[in-house]
């Protein structure tokens, strides 16, 4: 049986009744899984889906997780193998209970994730199987950390989360993915973020999956007038990592800033698609991606910006850079910019290359070893994306995660 047939069969065996789950399954049945023939999935490692033994959710965990230190000032929600864990959540279980309450109110009529017929199809799997779909309503200010740990038990690790920011609300959302379900199980995340007028969301994602992890996420963001969405994403783990993000700037002067970096080595495949839709006047997008592929790894990033006729005065910045650091390594960058109106300011660039020999010689001429010099230059390559993470402890963790892929880089000193 194909992966799609198994997904649908296992979903049937679970006898789900929630309308949102059933609608997601119906959509997946109608549109199927993406393939490498789909333009936006050319570089994704979809074959790993065929290796997944079971798409049913992993059972409730029985192990105690090793958690990273809590972030000062943040509430925390911990998920183990896709199951929210009230006992590890901060400040207490009340937050989790309130999220579940949100589900009951919202999900019956919730629309499907982004472009269910297109790039959002993997998100449908999370919607079908996530054991505890959650909805978070934020008014005022909130700092929330989501820690998602895969322990390796059989079955999928799913998260299906909606976040709705009220007008003027501010949210610092941190999302950490740790561990691995193993090479025959997947982690699959569906996030739906809605920013009302004048709201602000800083969203930091650290994909620190174990080297054998299969990880897929789907992120749909809608930003209303004068809303401000900032995404910082560090992908530094996983045998297969695929991120699919779509940001819809639907209100006047809505803004998005994306700072993403990816490091991969060995046989790893790290692929990302960032789509930004400018739909209203005065909207702004600013995307920066830095990726390093070492040894025989493959890093890919597609950045698709579409400016609608209604988006007069839009401003678009896009900078994609890739570094190839191995004879068999590959970096594929695909900037795409479609402008359907006048009065748009746009600047974009994409370059892929190897380490600059002049820079390398400069460091060697100061006595640094070739290994240290190369590591330092790779670090420098990532610094711009990394430095966009405002929280020092988080920046440090992100740096250490990225540095773990950069040989013997002395990250602890560099991060001081």
């Amino acid at each position: 049986m194909s992966a799609l047939e198994r997904i649908l069969s296992e979903f049937g065996s679970a006898a789900a009744t929630a309308p949102a789950r059933l609608a997601a399954a119906e959509s997946l049945r109608a549109h199927g899984l993406p393939t490498r023939r789909d333009e936006n999935w050319r570089y994704a490692n979809l074959r790993s889906l065929e290796a997944v033994r079971s798409f049913l959710p992993a059972p409730e965990p029985t192990v105690s997780p090793a958690l990273p230190p809590a972030l000062p000032g943040f509430s925390r929600l911990v998920f183990i193998d896709g199951h929210p864990q009230a006992e590890y959540s901060l400040p207490d279980a009340a937050l989790l209970a309130s999220l579940r309450g949100g589900v009951a109110r919202a999900r019956a009529t919730a629309p499907l994730p982004l472009a269910a017929a297109g790039d959002g199809r993997l998100g449908l799997i999370a919607r079908m199987f996530a054991p505890d779909p959650l909805t978070l309503h934020v008014s005022g200010r909130l700092a929330l950390e989501l820690v998602l740990i895969a322990t390796g038990s059989a079955g999928g690790n799913y998260l299906d989360l909606e976040v709705q920011l009220a007008a003027g609300a501010q949210l610092d959302l941190v999302e950490r993915h740790l561990g691995s379900a193993g090479p025959t199980a997947m982690s699959c995340v569906q996030l739906d973020l809605r920013l009302a007028e004048h709201s602000q969301l800083t969203h930091t994602r650290l994909l620190q999956c174990a080297p054998d992890a299969l990880y897929y996420d789907t992120l749909a963001v809608t930003v209303a007038a004068d809303g401000d969405y900032r995404l910082r994403q560090v992908a530094a783990g996983g045998q297969t990592t695929r991120s699919t993000a779509e940001v819809r700037l639907s209100g006047r002067d809505a803004r998005v800033q994306i700072r993403a970096l990816a490091t991969a080595h060995g046989p790893q495949v790290c692929d990302a698609l960032f789509t930004v839709l400018h739909e209203a006047p005065g909207t702004r997008s600013d995307q920066l991606f830095r990726g390093i592929a070492s040894e025989r790894a493959h890093v890919a990033c597609s950045a698709d910006v579409q400016v609608a006729p209604s988006a007069k005065g839009a401003r678009v910045l896009q900078s994609l850079r890739g570094l190839i650091d191995g004879a068999g390594a590959e970096v594929d960058l695909r900037p795409r910019l479609t402008i359907n109106t006048d009065e748009v300011q746009a600047a974009h660039g994409a370059t892929t290359g190897r380490l600059d020999e002049d820079l390398l010689f400069y460091l060697l001429s100061r006595g640094l070893s070739p290994g240290d010099a190369r590591s330092l230059l790779k670090w420098a390559f990532l610094a711009e994306a990394l430095n966009a993470i405002d929280l020092p402890p988080l920046r440090r963790d992100a740096g250490l995660a990225a540095a773990a892929r950069l040989a013997d880089i002395p990250a602890t000193e560099l991060l001081q």
């Binding site: 820079l359 006595g367 070739p370």
Partner: protein, 256 residues
């Protein structure tokens, strides 16, 4: 009689298949300052980079001994650790790596080579800040990326700062004076002079005599068409300033 710190004998090298150096011979003793002058394209920078071990050059003949060892057998980083410093004509920018980090890594690489322990963080800051004062460099530049956003003059002063921190046995300064205004030239000159010591040497590569007003050389050499065609004392630099290089090129051509 002591062995010269640097002994270049009949050195020939090519770049991209084109011969650039045609049998350069030069000896520099510890405690001396030498100036190498010459017109554009004469091979001055090539000589400096060949000595520092830059890839891309093919040594086609000759030998170079540094402190008694075969310099050409060493990779670039080992030449640096052994005490050879190249001051770049065009220092590169490395955003994301702070000056402080690079400088400390470089200093510790040299200290380890000398059998010393890594420098303590507090001692390092004291050392660097003292040298920064000598070079009139603002403390804030220490935490900036290497040469990131520096003006041309700041980059050159930063090169000299690195030299002062690393305290090399031999400094090769490739047109460190180019692009400097008078004040910066004076500061750079003071920096170079502060390194002068009985166990060190400096080779200044320059087009012009003006740096030599501040850094008085023991010997001046003229490199032309890949050869040293004339050597003399500082008066030679003054004469070159007055007469240019043509007369030497003609003389060299006549004797070739």
């Amino acid at each position: 009689m002591s062995v010269p710190l640097l002994q270049i004998h009949d050195l020939s090298a090519s770049a991209g298949g084109t011969p650039v150096l045609h049998g350069v011979s030069l000896e520099v003793n510890a405690g001396e300052v030498h100036a190498i002058m010459g017109p554009n394209g004469s091979g001055k920078s090539t000589l400096a980079h060949v000595l520092a071990g830059r890839p891309g050059y093919l040594i086609t003949g000759g030998t170079v001994r540094f402190d008694g060892a075969d310099l050409l057998a060493l990779p670039a980083e080992e030449r640096a650790r052994a005490g050879l410093f190249l001051g770049f004509q065009y220092p590169v920018e490395i955003p994301g790596v702070s000056n402080a980090y690079m400088l400390k890594a470089a200093l510790n690489a040299r200290r380890r080579h000398l059998g010393e322990q890594d420098i303590d963080a507090f001692d390092f800051l004291n050392l660097v800040r003292g040298r920064m004062r000598t070079m009139h460099i603002d403390d804030a530049l220490l935490t900036r990326g290497v040469n990131e956003g520096f003006s041309g003059g700041e980059k050159k002063r930063n090169e000299i700062l690195q030299m002062l921190v690393l305290e090399p046995r031999l400094a090769l300064l490739d047109e460190t004076d180019s692009g400097l205004d008078i004040d910066a030239l004076k500061i750079v000159g003071q920096g170079i002079n502060s390194l002068r010591a009985a166990d060190r040497a400096v080779v200044v590569i320059t087009h012009y005599q003006r740096l030599l007003d501040y850094v008085v050389p023991d010997q001046v050499h003229v490199l032309a068409r890949g050869r040293i065609v004339r050597s003399g004392d500082r008066d030679l630099a003054v004469e070159l300033e007055r007469r240019g290089y043509d007369w030497l090129l003609e003389a060299a051509a006549a004797s070739a």
